[in-house]
């Protein structure tokens, strides 16, 4: 199979030939020709202004009772006593999609000792909150959490299921999709309903350099994970109901044993949760200077990031590395200090809302993705900025 060219529409302009990453398109004379090297990546489809290219259809997951699937669900992430904020964000997104389709919106809450958590979810727009409260759910395990969610889905048949693209969601949701034999789109940044009622799932690809809209035409439910802080949580109380569900004991069985759970006490180390990340690179020159980055991060109650060079110099632990081989982060503020902005760094942070770059080289590529660029010697600028933040007002 390969990309299909509509000979009527193709004008042999040659644009697709230039974008094909595997060189599978040639444009001999009257129209484009796709060779067997085509990997069906789809890069060419959207660049064709004449809509002359499309991909063949996917075939998997035709469920016979697709019409029986109704409603939009959000998985509520309970972490040791509190419902994680991403749950409210998801629920608000689920509410919006449910209203668009004219169906019910539900939240699923799994955990142990879930006293008032369910009521809080009703305030964010759930018509119903399904609650499974069981001691085996105290610690997260992929197996028990998946089985519970799968049992609920099989029984109630939602059409759409959303979860957070957190370390928990990214770990067990693929298992849920595989058990249910349906498609899953990770890390969505936008969700909508198409004219024919399908979930349009938009996500960054190639490190955020391209956006892709993905559908799951036949599999049910249509599943997506959504990055934290992408959707806005909205309070919209409902006269919803809380439904406690008891599941058979074998559902909670798991082959892994959780030996220890060690919370990271140092908040400057929790990058994925941070609203503000102050990141340092080789421009800081030595370990002592990296302390400036840490001080600024503490002032913002944020986390400390680092380029790979800074990690290699030993100024910050590997777990702080941002980028292609480190973490992908999208805080409200990302401040890059003495970081050049190599593509491998940029792909890990360009989803941040505000990007401030401090660099003495006005040509540094980091400025291409910055919302605010400060061309300055960091040894003058950063200490002065620290003083200003301390002074406040």
């Amino acid at each position: 199979m390969k990309a299909l060219i509509d000979l009527e529409k193709c004008t042999a302009c040659g644009v697709c030939q230039d974008v094909c990453p595997v060189g599978a398109i040639s444009v001999p004379e009257t129209h484009a020709v796709v060779s067997d090297d085509c990997t069906l990546c789809g890069m060419c489809v959207d660049t064709c202004e004449f809509q002359a290219i499309r991909l063949p259809d996917v075939g998997a997951g035709v469920v016979s009772d697709a019409a029986a699937y109704r409603g939009v669900w959000a998985f509520a992430e309970w972490r040791r006593g509190t419902v994680h904020r991403v749950s409210y964000e998801l629920l608000s997104a689920a509410r919006r999609l449910a209203d668009k389709k004219g169906v019910e919106c539900a939240a699923v809450l799994l955990g142990e000792n879930l006293s008032s958590a369910a009521e809080e979810l009703l305030r964010y727009g759930a018509d119903v909150v399904y609650v499974v409260d069981h001691p085996a759910l105290k610690d997260f395990t992929d197996e028990a959490y998946s089985r519970c969610l799968v049992e609920l889905v099989r029984d109630k048949k939602p059409e759409i299921l959303l979860a957070g693209a957190t370390s928990m969601g990214r770990s067990f949701i693929p298992r849920v999709a595989a058990m249910l034999q349906t498609g899953l789109t990770a890390d969505c940044t936008d969700l909508d309903i198409s004219e024919d009622g399908l979930l349009l799932q938009t996500r960054p690809a190639f490190g955020g350099n391209v956006m892709a809209t993905i559908i799951c035409p036949y599999g049910r439910p249509q599943m997506a994970t959504v990055r934290p802080r992408v959707m806005r949580p909205e309070i919209q109380p409902r006269n919803g109901r809380i439904q406690r569900v008891a599941l058979p004991e074998d559902v909670f069985r798991t082959r892994v044993q959780v030996l220890e759970v060690i919370p990271e006490e140092d908040t400057t180390a929790r990058l994925s949760e941070a609203e503000v990340i102050i990141s340092g690179g080789r421009g800081l020159q030595k370990a002592e200077n990296f302390r400036m980055v840490e001080e600024l991060a503490r002032l913002f109650k944020g986390a400390v990031g680092a380029s790979r060079s800074a990690v290699e110099e030993g100024w910050a632990p590997v777990s702080h590395q941002v980028g292609q081989t480190g973490q992908t982060v999208s805080p409200t503020l990302y401040m890059a200090i003495g970081i050049s902005g190599a593509i491998q760094h940029i792909v890990g942070m360009q989803g941040s809302k505000i990007i401030v770059a401090v660099n003495k080289d006005p040509e540094a590529p980091i400025f291409d993705v910055a919302t605010c660029g400060v061309v300055a010697d960091l040894f003058e600028f950063v200490p002065a900025f620290i003083e200003r933040v301390k002074r406040a007002g």
């Binding site: 199979m1 069906l40 789809g42 890069m43 489809v45 959207d46 660049t47 996917v58 075939g59 998997a60 997951g61 972490r79 992929d142 370390s167 693929p174 298992r175 999709a177 595989a178 899953l184 990770a186 890390d187 690809a205 490190g207 350099n209 956006m211 892709a212 809209t213 799951c216 035409p217 599999g219 798991t254 082959r255 892994v256 959780v258 030996l259 220890e260 759970v261 060690i262 919370p263 990271e264 006490e265 994925s272 949760e273 913002f300 590997v318 777990s319 590395q321 292609q324 081989t325 480190g326 992908t328 593509i343 940029i346 792909v347 291409d368 919302t371 605010c372 660029g373 061309v375 300055a376």
Partner: protein, 263 residues
């Protein structure tokens, strides 16, 4: 002990550039690299082999030129390699990819441990590992920083979560997806390079792993890309000029107006 490492060839980010004016993707050349996380997976496997002895097989599903990636890994000390390549595999989503890998691992038989990278840097989905484990019906641990073989039948792993770390014990066979923290990949050695050059890499088709064509590739996929487009252009960048004192004040006011938390 038999270990399988799943690796993927991805476009080299070096050749992917964002045009500063149009903010669109510019690609130069078509070179590929091994997904960086998969080199950490290889390293994790080789460390277990060094310590406890093991037979390590590296596997990839991809076009014929993915053989290059396999030979690179062979030259780092992996024992043998399998290439899953067939026109029918093209256009696979993570489910169809996991389906093909699972069938190939079953064909190898008697595998105790499968390593994957945390995610492939082209798609960033991090789904293939968990889906593969589910298809093989074995337990798994994601985002792993440390792997130790506790005894013949158990693995002890340290995994990183949003909140901190967790220590898990898994019975074998199991699957693990790894982070950079497992250790930097070793370089190819002269001895292994010679062997890698001569090694024959078997190429398996869908039929070879017992899968009908409609279970693999685009036909065997659930998800379909309907549109690719450039990300919305960012608000124009604001460059702060002038003396440092002015820059400091302007940035401070800008962040305050933007209601950045913590100020």
């Amino acid at each position: 002990m038999k270990i399988v490492v799943c690796i993927k060839q991805v476009p080299d980010a070096k050749n992917v550039r964002i045009d500063p004016h149009t903010h669109t993707l510019v690609r130069q050349g078509v070179e590929s690299i091994i997904n960086p996380f998969d080199l950490f997976a290889v390293e994790a496997a080789l460390r277990l082999k060094d310590r406890h002895g093991a037979h390590v097989t590296v596997m990839t599903m991809g076009p014929p030129q993915a053989e290059e990636a396999l030979r690179d890994v062979l030259s780092r000390g992996v024992d043998d390699a399998v290439l899953l390549s067939d026109r029918a595999f093209a256009g696979a989503d993570t489910w169809a990819t996991a389906t093909a890998l699972a069938a190939a691992i079953r064909k190898l038989g008697d595998v105790s441990l499968v390593f994957c990278g945390k995610q492939a840097v082209d798609g960033d989905t991090a789904q293939v590992g968990p889906e593969l484990a589910t298809l093989l019906d074995i337990p798994y641990a994601t985002f792993v920083k440390q792997v130790e073989l506790e005894d013949e039948g158990h693995l002890r792993v340290v995994r990183k979560t949003d909140e901190g770390t967790e220590v898990w014990r898994l019975p074998l066979p199991a699957l693990v997806t790894v982070l950079r923290d497992v250790g930097d990949p070793r370089l190819p050695s002269v001895k292994h390079k010679m062997r890698a050059k001569k090694a024959t890499v078997p190429v398996w088709s869908a039929a070879d792993v017992g899968l009908p064509e409609d279970r693999v590739g685009l036909k065997g996929s659930f998800t379909q890309v309907v549109r690719l487009f450039s990300p919305p252009k960012r608000a124009d960048r604001w460059m702060l000029e002038g003396p440092v004192a002015d820059q400091v004040e302007k940035l401070y006011q800008y962040l305050k107006e933007a209601k950045v938390p913590g100020l």
